[in-house]
């Protein structure tokens, strides 16, 4: 199996100090969180009622992300809904290298 390629993220600069922050990968909007174990990207809106994930918060020792609107909570590892079975978000690996951000789908 070949390793999935990394794509340079648009719309985000290393001097960003405030997270979460919007970015895009291959033309698709994502939101990047800075967690205790590094950067992680998620899709731009919650699959429940389309609320922006910019208002979401990290929880469970930064292993989950929780939408602000109805506390729907998703695992950052695989995007699976924790308290909302059947719901899932896309999550992205994100890394910073030589002053640029790169990402790829994690699930």
């Amino acid at each position: 199996m070949t390793e999935r390629p990394w794509h340079q993220l648009a719309g985000i600069r290393p001097e960003n100090t405030k997270y979460p922050v919007r970015a895009s990968i291959e033309g698709e909007g994502i939101v990047i969180f800075k967690t205790k174990s590094g950067y992680r990207g998620v899709q731009r809106s919650c699959p429940h009622m389309n609320a922006t994930m910019m208002n979401a918060e990290l929880t469970a020792n930064d292993t989950m992300v929780r939408c602000h609107l109805h506390v729907f909570t998703f695992k950052l590892s695989d995007g699976k809904g924790v308290n909302c079975p059947g719901f899932k978000i896309k999550v992205y690996e994100v890394k910073e290298e030589n002053g640029a951000f790169y990402g790829r789908l994690a699930n």
Partner: protein, 503 residues
Amino acid sequence: MNSAADSFVLKGAHVLDAEQGIDKVADVHVAGGKILQVGPREVAADTKIIDVAGNHLSAGWVDIHVHAYGTLGFANPDTVGIYQGVTTFVDAGGPGIGVLDQFMELLGHLETTLFAGAFIRPMGLLGLNFIEGDVRTLGEVPITRWVDFARQNRDMLRYIKCNAIGDYGPGTLKLTKGLAEILNLPLYMHIGEFQLQNPEHLLAPEAFRIAEAGDMITHLYHGNLGQVLDENGKVLPVVRDAERRGVIFDLGFGGYNFSWGVAEKAFAQDLIPHTISSDLQQFNVVRPVKSLANVMSAMLRVGMTLPQVIERVTRNPAKAISLTDRAGSLKPGMPADITVFRVNSGDYEIMDCYAQSRRADRQIEPLITFKNGKRFDVDMTMGQDENNWFLQFAEDHVPSRAARLSDRQRGFLDSLASSLSSVTWEVGSAERLDIEKALALQDVFHQQRGRNGLPLKDALQAVYASFLDQSFTMQIGLLLVRLEQPFVVGRLRDVARKHPIAA
């Protein structure tokens, strides 16, 4: 004069009791868990006096729309009841006829008096967004079972609920109305949010047409499709007609169903809910609902007077669910269910469900609750505690409470695991849940329980303790069908055979 041992006087509060026309500072005398009198009365020298001067006091608050049970419920429902000033509440649709036995076994021990507003579908509310199979289960209304249950548990049932949503016409509403008539109970209909359902055909107007005197419609001030207002903001004639017929309008704030814009326009036209309810559940207790008190503060901001607000959480809901013999007033002889509260002045922000807020200069804050004379100090933080509302399965560890299961419970889990190992099921998607399979899994659970001769509560607790760290309650078939079959079987076996238990 009564003996002082079980007597006390609540002294100096401003008492509001619509039933007796009381709106003044007065002492409330309690003895033996009942109200003796509101007003001056001779007391024994050693009678306990509780000084509540400067505060308000009313009969204990009644919330006819909460979610205590199932996928919307709480680990400890008392946190949104007695600890928030509410002495009586009704689970709005959590259980249906297929799980009312589970509901009663699990939630009969609360400090807050809990009743069932049973749902038309056997499994009860499924919560979340599953496109609920109202139509698919239209044939599943076992009249004889309902009637038999109601004969034996008349007191538990307070209304029959259905949702006025979906694209398959008003059949569900009419069928639920028919069942409610058979059982001589009010019909309670949800208008409001659709979740993932496609609202091509609005059933809300149909709900107002079908409802008769004493039937209830909840989410009066919702801001979704199917509002009580027309496109020009005028109250719809069909709503006025229902009001004239004696249909009861309930607020049902909820996570999706209260709009400042709708509330203000409707209130200005004198369309006012008869009852104020919260619709508290695990997805809205953090925000925007928070508590019944917060919802009451919102109603003050809409324009109700304090006595109007209090009447709508005491006398009116007690009448709506035929409970005036036990709740809703401070008449002599009534149970001493009492809420002491304060009306704070300041600058407060109150959110609706559509990210709109209003500044308010008053806020209702409950302080002390009495249930049959027993005192509970209000603690608004308990309901907000994540352990109380964040329902997650213990996927990577066995809950520590599984270690406390009895040998009989473990034996039951072992045989349940064996039975389930020959059953297959698919975990549902956000849109679809296999309700029939959930009911089939519930049947397997009951069969094994019967064979093991285990009481229902012990069997339920054994399964919950295998998968949940906190004491959430859930329809057993729904719990199982939400998890992958190999995981369920493996976990039940691990617990049954006392495999190493992680923290």
